[in-house]
Symmetry: C2
Subunit: 174 residues, 2 copies
């Protein structure tokens, strides 16, 4: 036990963690070495779950898009944060390009269509998506949606199919 009159900034916390605290998630290679960790989402589009937060309704994931991939037009009622790990992409609705090493904040109310430009073999972006993605037609009529629960279901289905087992997704759920 550390002396209360003799500790410094490298003295660890001395008490137990709260009994009701969740477990942390530590994923050493977020870009996975096992191809099966990527969950198919659309043509040439995959996601890799990192945290599927059912208590607050958001998900942290890597989005991977390969050449000619498009993430369909969608609206976000809540903020999204992106950090580009590989390649580059843009939105049909904006003039800028999200290059490797970029950070992007997407405010609530955004409607956009993610496209990977010609010449890019692969892009990978770490995204936090809050609430819901509403897939829409060009005039904003809702065609479908995704939320943390549809993401969890997609993971269960895929991980069962590729032999990891539906329960493989449990490690990402909080």
């Amino acid at each position: 036990m550390v002396d209360k009159n003799n500790y410094d900034e490298r003295t660890p916390y001395q008490l137990p963690f709260p009994a009701d605290a969740q477990q942390e998630i530590v994923i050493p290679h977020a870009i996975p070495e096992d191809e099966r960790h990527w969950v198919p989402q659309a043509d040439n589009v995959w996601f890799r779950p990192l945290c599927l937060n059912r208590s607050q309704g958001y998900w942290m994931n890597l989005l991977r898009v390969r050449k000619s991939g498009v993430l369909s037009r969608h609206r976000h009622p809540q903020p999204v944060h992106g950090f580009v790990l590989k390649g580059r992409w843009h939105y049909l609705e904006h003039d800028w390009m999200a290059e490797e090493g970029s950070y992007v904040y997407e405010p609530p109310g955004e409607t956009h269509t993610l496209v990977v430009p010609e010449g890019v073999e692969e892009m990978i972006t770490y995204f936090q998506v809050n609430g819901v993605m509403c897939y829409v037609d060009p005039w904003g009529e809702i065609l479908g949606y995704e939320d943390v629960f549809s993401k969890i279901d997609a993971c269960k289905k895929h991980y069962e199919e590729v032999g990891l087992g539906a329960d493989f997704v449990q490690q990402f759920i909080r």
Copy 2:
């Protein structure tokens, strides 16, 4: 104008964005080329703001720690997400090492002390910190805190001192 009976997944959204929507933030080189963008936080510890969200009380930033740097013992009442861009670090209170390319979810209730191990010249991690960081003694007594407002104030002070002007921080605030 696009024909309503003849559009595809690469047809952009056709309507204006909501009048009250915020502007997006796009930061092409999140790891800045201009050293002045790093805001000093403690000995050998700096942060680089990306999004300082005053309406929801969280901040997205890069944390940089150089050799012998320690991010003092602190407690998080809300979730934290980390993605290691460079180097590695660990918490005195856990056995795992956060290596380059790792994702870490820190649940509410965590109390920990971030240390960069010997041999690492520099680590940079992209963190989302929600709510507040409570700096604590080894028994959890609060010694100080940081929130999005203290981060904004630290940025204003630093950017004024290095000649970028206090208003330089405005681009990160939402």
